[in-house]
């Protein structure tokens, strides 16, 4: 369990962390999600001790480590740019934390072999980091961090420097790894898809504050505010309210649309709009619309619904949010 209380950090006049409180339960995989400059990396580095705090405390498993240097916090840290020890082989990189602790040779050899197998790098023991691909380097970095049996594993945008395909593979692999090793893990990312994919808890940060903490479903379906809603998935502004594009229903007949609308107390009502573009996205079809008020928004409907409606560009249509949709009042102050 990691507890951060009233963490505060300035860089000159820039406030990176503004009295942040967060609890990270043991064994969880928590994602710190936010745009760049939101303070997510600073928070992670403060937990690691790589960054000092101006105020507040950090405790790991009940031990106050606020004044401890990183080497005495019992952490494993993985950097975005791998930070592989370039002058050492893969084997020596992974073993380094153990050799420096003067563990018996046989124990080190076994541990390193086990870890390299887990991260899928057996057979690469004698290569140098320069001879590995980005994805392999990052897996080596993970093995290196796990070798010292850290109480917590901290990952700073670990897949940020990799290409899209490798990124998706690695994050699913990370999820499986976490299910195997169960070490408390904190992952920093700016990619909402990545957070939703791997994490069992997500903390959304903005301007050095935590906007909301919860499991992915809660955050997606019941966002605390505009910002959280906008950051986790796409949104459409419909009559001054934020709605998910796939929660918008389209109907040619205004009366049926209205009749349905009566059942929903807080829905934005029925908007009349003109179809500007119909974009097939594979399984779904995106309809770009312009409301009579001039506001532009997009709805996302299934392929079958689109075929049934048979929409054409320039046509007039009625739109409203479904009865179970996620709706947040638009607050311009929180807009991204």
């Amino acid at each position: 369990m990691i507890t951060v209380t009233a963490a505060r950090k300035h860089y000159g006049s820039f406030l990176a962390l503004d009295d942040v409180d967060i609890d990270i339960p043991s064994g969880s995989l928590t994602a710190l999600l936010g745009p760049s400059g939101s303070g997510k990396s600073t928070l992670l580095r403060a937990i690691a001790g790589l960054e000092g705090l101006d105020g507040g405390t950090v405790t790991i498993d009940g031990r106050d480590v606020t004044a401890e240097p990183p080497q005495r916090r019992g952490i494993g840290f993985v950097f975005q740019h791998y930070a592989a020890f370039k002058h050492m082989t893969v084997r020596d990189n992974v073993a380094f934390g153990l050799t420096i602790r003067k563990r018996p040779k046989a124990e080190i050899a076994k541990k390193v072999d086990d870890l390299l197998e887990i991260v899928g790098l057996d057979g690469f023991q004698h290569r140098y980091p320069a001879q590995l691909s980005g994805g392999q380097r990052q897996r080596m970095a993970l093995a290196r961090a796990l070798a010292v049996d850290p109480q917590v594993l901290l990952l700073d945008e670990p897949f940020g420097a990799l290409d899209a395909k490798v990124r998706t593979d690695l994050r699913q692999w990370l999820r499986r790894l976490h299910d195997e090793v169960h070490v408390t893990t904190v992952l920093v990312t700016h990619d909402q898809e990545e957070a939703l994919d791997v994490a069992d808890r997500i903390a959304v940060l903005n301007h050095g504050r935590i906007e909301q903490v919860g499991d992915p479903v809660t955050l997606y379906e019941r966002p605390a505010n505009d910002f959280v809603m906008g950051f986790l998935g796409s949104v459409a502004t419909l009559g001054g309210q934020l709605v998910r594009p796939h929660d918008i229903v389209l109907d040619r007949d205004r009366t049926t649309a209205l009749a349905l609308d009566a059942k929903v107390a807080d829905s934005p009502g029925v908007i009349t709009a003109t179809v500007e573009r119909v974009v097939p996205l594979g399984f779904e079809v995106r309809i770009d619309l312009r409301a009579d008020s001039g506001e532009r928004f997009a709805a996302q409907i299934t392929r079958r619904d689109a075929a049934e409606l048979g929409l054409h560009e320039g046509e007039t249509i009625h739109a409203r949010a479904t009865s179970r949709s996620t709706v947040v009042d638009h607050d311009p102050a929180l807009a991204i």
């Binding site: 690691a48 001790g49 790589l50 240097p69 990183p70 080497q71 005495r72 019992g74 952490i75 494993g76 840290f77 950097f79 740019h81 930070a83 020890f85 370039k86 002058h87 050492m88 082989t89 380094f96 934390g97 420096i100 602790r101 140098y128 980091p129 320069a130 001879q131 970095a141 290196r144 961090a145 010292v148 901290l154």
Partner: protein
């Protein structure tokens, strides 16, 4: 060399229009391989050969003539006096003097770089006082010419007749005569080392700064204590940028030992001067010193190559081949080609 190529016909076909005289095959010459450069078949009945530039050859000939004149002069000009050179080159006096020169270089390098490491660490310290002291040291010792500094150390007994050991401003446990502690050789080593330290510090500091901060952070996150982070992670990687400059410094220190002759220390240059002062054969004796300096610098350069290669591990996907490996590969390639050619002829 020019990289553009012109095509010309193979065998008996007439020259291609506009190919120019350089591209026309001469009678009796194998058109596929002029000057041993392998020709490539383009598949259209034309063979690509490198374009020739007549001015390159004019330059080569001019330089060759100058080199030949110089070598001829070395051999025939009696002024070089090779018999005297041969007579003194390996005499005991010269060899012993060479030993002194090497001793000065080794001691100056070790002490200079040891102090340099300390100064570099001070320059990079968080403490402003240590930073300032190191900065002032480097400023002072880079400002004073080595020869001036050496004379100062040689005359230190004039300033401090005795040196006593004890607590600062407190009781003394004993003292020695400064001249006993600082012979000429001691003064020379001290001067060289202090001078070298100032330069070494800057080179080492530059090397340390060239290592990414993330490396130290990664080591810290692995639970590695601070001094080990430095010696196991930062320094080995810093060596890559330190070494070429450090080797330069060692070589220039090695030659710089000749300045020590002002302190009448029997090193190579001083001994040579003593000998030609006696027999007036200046040129051949300077040549003795020159050849020894060249030999030892060559050895240092070879050593530098292999040390750098050692520290290059991991920075490139593959290490560059050693000269021995290069020669071997070249030889293997030639042998292969010769075998292929004989096989073709046989066919």
């Amino acid at each position: 060399m020019s990289t553009t190529s012109v095509a010309r016909p193979v065998g008996d076909s007439p020259p291609v229009d506009g190919a120019g005289p350089a591209a026309t095959p001469r009678a009796g010459e194998d058109p596929s391989s002029p000057h041993g450069i392998p020709a490539h078949d383009t598949g259209a009945g034309l063979t690509v050969v490198p374009r020739r530039n007549p001015w390159t050859w004019v330059g080569v000939v001019a330089v060759l003539i100058l080199v030949a004149m110089f070598v001829n002069g070395l051999a025939t000009n009696p002024g070089w006096d090779w018999p005297t050179f041969a007579q003194y080159f390996a005499t005991e006096t010269i060899i012993r003097a060479l030993g002194t020169t090497i001793q000065l270089t080794v001691l100056g390098t070790i002490a200079g770089f040891a102090l340099g490491v300390v100064l570099a660490a001070m320059r990079l310290s968080h403490n402003a006082f240590l930073r300032t002291v190191a900065w002032a040291y480097i400023w002072a010792f880079r400002s004073i010419p080595l020869i001036v500094q050496l004379l100062f150390w040689f005359n230190i007994a004039y300033l401090y007749q005795t040196i006593s050991f004890g607590l600062p401003f407190g009781p003394s446990f004993g003292s020695v005569q400064t001249n006993d502690l600082f012979g000429a050789l001691g003064a020379a080593v001290l001067g060289l080392a202090l001078h070298q330290a100032a330069y070494a510090a800057e080179i080492i500091r530059g090397g340390i700064l060239s290592v990414d901060e993330g490396q130290r952070e990664a080591a810290a996150a692995l639970g590695i204590p601070r001094h080990r982070q430095f010696f196991r992670i930062v320094l080995p990687q810093a060596m890559r940028s330190i070494l070429p400059n450090a080797a330069n410094e060692v070589i220039s220190l090695f030659k710089g030992t000749s300045i020590v002759s002002v302190l009448a220390i029997p090193e190579l240059f001083y001994q040579v001067q003593v000998i030609y002062g006696r027999n007036s054969r200046v040129v051949p004796l300077l040549l003795v010193a020159t050849v020894w300096y060249i030999i030892l610098t060559t050895l240092l350069t070879i050593g530098q190559y292999y040390v750098e290669r050692h520290f290059a591990k991991g920075s490139a996907r593959a290490l560059p081949p050693t000269p021995v490996q290069k020669v071997r590969a070249r030889w293997a390639g030639l042998a292969l080609r010769a075998r292929r050619e004989t096989a073709e002829v046989a066919r």
